[in-house]
């Protein structure tokens, strides 16, 4: 450092690498500063404490009649809880993986020992409409599950996509059985 100062003192060409270094340090310091100022602004748009506090719901299964589904609101979204008949369970389990667009076993989509209960997020994986099929009088499509009225996607009784344009199965939210007739979603 003393050498470069010496050169400059003599009126020779200034040491550009030193100038570049100083500019880089100044610019990166400013970038870090702006970034750390921007983060609180951006993070303020993330879910706030009171929103996160509402991110789980409990639900009593007892009133749901066999063969029907009800809608539970979880994080502002509909969650379908379907009470499946033994026939429906058999059909769902019999489907070969090769027939599926988004291959997944029925046993991976329900809790062992509670196969009659299917819990899925009731939002079509295509563009976010709510599919029909909770009531036995609703159109349920060719596979007996759900039919999305927006663009014709069809789901089976395991909530798996069977007919496009939806790209994936209905999502299974995190949930747990608190007792045989009570679940906690989220």
């Amino acid at each position: 450092m003393s050498a470069t100062a010496h050169v400059q003192g003599d009126g020779h060409a200034p040491d550009h690498s030193k100038r570049d270094f100083l500019k880089l340090v100044a610019a990166s310091g400013a970038a870090i500063g702006v970034g750390s100022l921007a983060w609180p602004l951006i993070d303020s748009m993330n879910p706030s404490g009171d929103v996160l506090a509402l991110s789980s719901v409990e639900f009593d299964l007892a009133p749901v009649p066999l063969g029907q589904a009800v809608t539970v609101v979880w994080r502002g979204k509909p969650v379908f809880v379907r009470h499946r008949t033994p026939d429906e369970i058999k059909t769902a389990e019999a489907v070969k993986l090769s027939e599926l667009g988004d291959p997944q076993l029925d046993s991976d989509r329900v809790k062992a020992g509670h196969e009659q209960w299917l819990v899925v997020v009731g939002i079509c994986t295509h563009l976010g409409c709510v599919p029909l099929g909770n009531k036995s009088t609703d159109p349920r499509g060719d596979f007996g599950g759900w039919f999305c009225p927006c663009h014709g996607s069809q789901y089976d009784v395991s909530g798996r996509m069977r007919h496009g344009p939806a790209p994936a199965n209905l999502a299974v939210p995190p949930y747990a059985f608190m007792s045989d007739t009570r679940i906690k979603i989220g």
Partner: protein, 424 residues
């Protein structure tokens, strides 16, 4: 004027844009090589600081508005939710609230700079007047912003200030009803205040743009108050004043941060953490500190209309200041008597501020009245007369030669000459 701009930028993309829309040329001309008097002191930081402060207020305000609920039922709770539940909401709110105070601190110092160095004098009269417009817009914005948390001070501040307009003869009551959108400060009032509070900063930004354009026509004033005569008297804005402004900005941010992190409620009022109650007025209501001198003037006049006229007049008088001050010398550095009297004026303004914060009784009423009288005396009597009576000190011949040449014009001492400047 029609035709492509001949851009001097080497980078082909920049050149392509600049040829069609010469923004890069403009930025270089106005903020890069812009010739700026070389003798600025740190008082000349405050314009840039005010600009930064405005941007901080707009940015934090936009994010606060995402979580604010402009209704009498939800406003207070939504502000509490911002502080307690929204990520970094406490930071956004206190930066915004204290940012208003910082804005007035910065702008009042900026105005003092103008008064001390005569920056309002020919040819910068319009520049100064645009500045007074910005001050008025800021005051309106700050007032409406203070109403939004819908605490007791918000509510009663809104009631008192809107009632000022009822002093207008004949149409006063109709105007107040119009402002309220009802028969008291209520939900419609809060809604429109939020709408206008969001609008005004962008109006201010527009007027600030005019302020800067006018500044770049006349060029900046400087501590000596004499016009630059040659390139020896000026420096390019960048890097000299970008760096000097950055130093000031660091100090400003430190003060700002100290307020936000260590005394976020110091400049506020505890009463504003009580939700608005239209049936009970707090025992002692005062505006925010930056309005106190004007509030003191309002209370000093024992007449409703008179007080309102004097209060608005105390700001309106700034519009005609360039013509009230008859002295051709700008800088107080060369006006020994004006300099003393300006300090007296500053003390009077601060005393008005203190008086405005006290209950209007006893000695404070007298002090308020004396100071109010002096405030107007300064502008209406002292400044016009002083320009004629005061004998200013001799002015230096240029900024580059601030040391006066002895009569007869001997050679200057070497140190006073700025030789290295020839590089430019």
């Amino acid at each position: 004027m029609v035709g492509l701009h001949k851009s001097e930028f080497k980078n082909p993309v920049i050149n392509w844009v600049d040829t069609r829309l010469p923004l890069f040329t403009m930025m270089t001309k106005e903020y890069g090589v812009f010739p700026t008097p070389k003798n600025f002191n740190y008082f000349w930081n405050f314009g840039a600081l005010a600009m930064i402060n405005l941007m901080i207020m707009i940015v934090t305000g936009i994010f606060l508005a995402m979580n604010y609920n402009a209704s009498t039922a939800g406003a207070f709770d939504s502000v509490e939710r911002i502080v307690r539940d929204v990520n970094y909401g406490w930071l956004l709110r206190y930066v915004h609230a204290n940012g208003a105070s910082m804005f007035f601190i910065v702008v009042y110092i900026h105005m003092f700079r103008g008064l001390y160095y005569g920056s309002y004098k020919k040819p910068r009269e319009l520049l100064w007047m645009i500045g007074v417009v910005i001050l008025l817009l800021m005051m309106a914005t700050a007032f409406m912003g203070y109403v939004l948390p819908w605490g007791q001070m918000s509510y009663w501040g809104a009631t008192v200030i809107t009632n000022l307009f009822s002093a207008i003869p004949v149409v006063g009551d109709y105007i107040v009803t119009l402002l309220w959108g009802g028969f008291s400060v209520d939900n419609p009032t809060l809604n429109r205040f939020f709408s206008l509070h969001y609008l005004m900063p962008f109006v201010i930004t527009g007027v600030v743009f005019l302020h800067v354009v006018a500044l770049h026509i006349t060029g900046s004033n400087n501590p000596l108050g004499i016009e630059p005569k040659s390139s020896q008297d000026t420096l390019p804005f960048h890097p000299y004043y970008t760096i000097k402004d950055s130093v000031g900005m660091c100090v400003y941010l430190m003060v700002f941060a100290a307020l936000v992190f260590f005394a976020p409620d110091y400049l506020g009022h505890a009463d504003n953490y009580t939700p608005a109650n239209p049936l009970v007025t707090p025992a002692h209501i005062v505006p925010e500190w930056y309005f106190l001198p004007f509030y003191a003037i309002l209370r000093s006049v024992p007449s409703k209309l008179g007080g309102v006229i004097m209060m608005f007049g105390s700001i309106a008088i700034l519009f005609v200041l360039p013509w009230l001050d008859t002295s051709p010398v700008r800088s107080a550095k060369f006006r020994p008597i004006y300099r003393q009297l300006l300090y007296v004026f500053v003390v009077v303004c601060i005393t008005l501020g203190v008086a405005g914060g006290k209950p209007p009784e006893g000695i404070w009423v007298v002090i308020g009245r004396v100071c109010t009288a002096y405030y107007f005396l300064h502008f209406l009597v002292i400044l016009p007369l002083l320009g004629k009576l005061e004998k200013p000190l001799p002015l230096p011949e240029s900024i580059a030669n601030p040391v006066l040449t002895p009569i007869g014009g001997g050679p200057l001492p070497g140190g006073a000459m700025a030789k290295p400047m020839e590089k430019m």
